[in-house]
């Protein structure tokens, strides 16, 4: 009865408020119903020679990701004729808005692509299965995956999420543009410091170029904190990882200077940019750099149709801020009735060389060293650059932070709102720092 109640409330809220994306939702409602019955009829020990099994696999992404993922699914189905995979995919924002009601209705897909900012929300609330027994039994083969690479999916020692590929923050630049501005590019493995880089601002501005469009606050403020030896969130997730507002003030004073001098995109334009590779300012040739996760490089250099380079993202003093991040994870729903089949599909995605010749590192550099080596000859020059950069970053980074605590999504939204108030000069940096710390701590205090 509770299930019914929650489904109805969620449904009525959705219908009452937004009739958006209905085409997709209808499909998924159908899928959910179909797999519910199929799931219960399948035995718990589904193997390739067993009865028919239906596995629902959900992910977010752009069109190219949908295309090759469907292809990989086809390949998998050919190898396992008894398995039917029902794909459910959406763009990032819609994905989470669809997943939450599904969780409430106990109808999560069997395989769920997971993001770090939501991992704790789902794992901590008992929605995800612990994968440790499967890695121990070898059903999920992690023999070629480094322990540090796995660590990003662990909470309290349990492996809830399988890293689907590795990423590192990077600064993408257009060497030809830098040259035409008379800017000397640092050695590929050295990079600039932020101060050195910001010093180029006036020179760029004189030619009508920006330093960058913006630095995502939920990514770069924590990155800055790491450089100062602090973390964004306290280890137990009940408050922020720093108490000294000076850190916030220092960082956003600098940021505001860059903004006020016109080194970055103005907020009114930024709020309308969709963040697609085609709109990327380096691709368009209007900014010196684009600071992003390394897997974005493929899309952006394809949009640019020019040779772009990857540099380390500027550090502050050292690069101890840099870390390898799982680009995304694969997780298995706790409510899944076909866990074995779900695990087998993830295993195929992670370890199968033929599958990865189709995936080609689009979800981040493959975590299996065997797969990495095997597919290298198949890579385009751009993909090779990404693989090389991540290999370099692996040696020049430190361990990543534990996954964000419950409430982090709200804290990220709060940070963005406070920074907007600062940049629009509604409040001072000092006031923003204090407001952010107090409100964020209040949100996180609910985790006690």
């Amino acid at each position: 009865m509770k299930k019914l109640t929650t489904t109805l409330v969620a449904a009525s809220l959705m219908i009452g408020l937004a009739a958006c994306g209905s085409g997709n939702n209808d499909n998924n409602a159908g899928n959910a119903a179909a797999s519910g019955s199929a799931g219960s009829s399948a035995s718990a020990t589904a193997k390739s020679d067993d009865k028919p099994v239906t596995v629902r696999v959900a992910w977010w992404g752009g069109q190219s990701r949908h295309d090759y993922t469907l292809k990989v699914i086809d390949m998998y189905e050919k190898l396992h004729p008894n398995v039917t995979i029902e794909p459910e995919y959406a763009a990032f924002d819609d994905y989470w808005k669809k997943l939450a009601p599904q969780a409430a209705a106990n109808q999560l897909p069997d395989v769920i692509q997971m993001d770090i900012s939501y991992l704790n929300q789902y794992a901590g609330r008992n929605q995800l299965a612990d994968l440790t027994p499967y890695t121990e039994s070898g059903k999920l083969d992690v023999s070629a995956v480094a322990e540090t690479t796995l660590a990003g999916g662990k909470i309290d020692g349990k492996l809830y999420a399988m890293n689907a590929g590795s990423n590192a923050l990077t600064m993408m630049v257009d060497p030809a543009m830098l040259k035409s501005l008379g800017i000397e590019e640092p050695a590929a493995d050295k990079g600039w410091t932020w101060d050195e880089f910001a010093a180029l601002g006036d020179k760029a501005k004189a030619q009508g170029k920006l330093l960058f469009s913006d630095l995502r606050h939920d990514v770069f403020f924590p990155f800055y904190l790491r450089g100062q030896g602090k973390l964004m969130y306290a280890a137990d997730g009940t408050k922020l990882g720093y108490d000294d507002d000076k850190l916030f003030i220092d960082y956003y004073n600098k940021y505001q200077q860059w903004y006020d001098k016109g080194y970055t995109m103005s907020l009114d334009k930024l709020s309308q940019s969709k963040g697609t590779p085609e709109e990327d300012l380096v691709a368009l040739g209007t900014a010196l750099s684009s600071n992003q996760w390394s897997n974005q490089f493929i899309g952006i250099s394809a949009a640019a149709k020019r040779d772009l380079d990857l540099l380390p993202v500027p550090g502050w003093d050292t690069n101890k801020a840099l870390f390898l991040k799982p680009s995304m994870y694969f997780t298995v729903a706790n409510s899944s009735k076909v866990k074995d089949a779900a695990i087998d599909f993830i295993n195929y995605f992670i370890n199968d060389v033929e599958a990865n010749k189709v995936i080609l590192g689009e979800r981040g550099v493959p975590v299996s060293s065997k797969v990495q080596e095997a597919i290298r000859p198949n890579l385009t020059p751009e993909q090779t650059k990404v693989f090389d950069y991540v290999a370099w970053a692996e040696k020049n980074s430190s361990e990543m932070n534990p996954p964000n605590p419950v409430g982090a999504v709200e804290v990220d939204a709060l940070l963005k709102a406070e920074v907007e108030k600062i940049l629009y000069k509604q409040i001072t940096v000092e006031k923003g720092a204090a407001e952010f710390r107090e409100k964020a701590n209040a949100i996180l205090a609910k985790n006690k």
């Binding site: 509770k2 409330v9 808005k97 009601p101 309308q272 969709k274």
Partner: protein, 300 residues
């Protein structure tokens, strides 16, 4: 058997049963469930805990964004509803003329309302009011060098939503048009003979006779304006920005519910919204006796 046939009530209930059952399952029950959840900390994932009036207390005393969304919503309603009605009435009067091809004009003016609330139109609106949009291009024809994004600036974003709402005047316009048709031409002719000008006839004849229809449109449009969601969601890409300047109440509710998965809080917000809109509709009804004119007054 005879008893069954004579029992009119039972047949009536049988015929209305599909509606009653549907209403109970899909309207009544979810409403009561949401009332219950508004007193809990329900987060979609875990069983709800009873927290009494905590959600309501936080909403009224500890949430700046909530009050921001209330003020944005009232600005939107107060600005868009009268403008939209005035515009609808003006166009209805134009289209009330007997000229050739009037049917075509009426369809053309109604068109924006047919597609009005849709996502596609909202996306088009971002093209019109963006930094390289139609409006700026138009202004630049006169050498204005306009480069700001109207949708991206905190001072103007909400007004682009108001403009979008006014543009979708079609449905109220049709109702006004029907009302205008029902005004006997003889009244206008008689006033004309007595020497009343167009302005005087409008205020003394057209408006009073139309007033029940104005009341109807006013209440319907006010309610729907309070519930506006899609344009703000699409134009601010689900955020209500910049600086929360387009954070309409329903958008904030949606954010709380589906972005932060705080269903309890969102349910509480929904109930406050229901009560507020109810009270406002009641006030409008109460004021109507001072300005709405019914021809059948005293007869019924």
């Amino acid at each position: 058997m005879t008893k069954f046939r004579e029992n009119n009530h039972l047949v009536g209930y049988l015929f209305t049963a599909p509606f009653i059952i549907g209403f109970l399952i899909f309207t009544m029950f979810p409403m009561l469930a949401s009332l219950y959840y508004s007193f809990t900390d329900y987060n979609l994932f875990e069983a709800p805990n009873w927290v009494g009036f905590d959600n309501y207390k936080t909403m009224f005393t500890g949430d700046d964004q909530y009050w921001k969304s209330v003020s944005v919503t009232f600005t939107y309603v107060v600005a868009s509803v009268p403008l939209r009605l005035a515009f609808a009435l003006a166009v209805a009067m134009l289209l009330n003329k007997a000229i050739g091809g009037i049917g075509l004009y009426r369809s053309a003016y109604y068109l924006p309302s047919l597609i009005g609330g849709s996502v596609a139109v909202s996306i088009m609106w971002t093209q019109v009011f963006g930094d390289k949009g139609l409006l700026n291009s138009f202004l630049n024809l006169f050498g204005a060098h306009a480069t700001t994004s109207w949708i991206g600036s905190p001072g103007t974003a909400i007004w682009t939503l108001v403009a979008l709402s006014v543009w979708q005047f079609g449905s109220s316009m049709l109702i006004f048009l029907a009302g205008l048709k029902s005004i006997p031409a003889s009244l206008h002719e008689a006033a004309n003979v007595d020497g009343a000008g167009a302005v005087r006839r409008f205020f003394k004849i057209t408006l009073p006779i139309l007033s029940p229809i104005i009341l109807f449109n006013l209440i319907m449009q006010t309610i729907s304006a309070f519930m506006t969601f899609t344009p703000a969601y699409v134009i601010s890409r689900g955020e209500g920005g910049p600086l929360d300047s387009t954070l309409l109440y329903s958008l904030y509710l949606y954010k709380r519910a589906f972005q932060f998965t705080q269903m309890g809080y969102a349910s509480a917000m929904a109930w406050v919204m229901l009560l507020t809109v109810g009270i406002i509709a009641l006030i409008l009804f109460q004021t109507s006796k001072y300005w709405v004119h019914y021809e059948s007054k005293g007869e019924s």
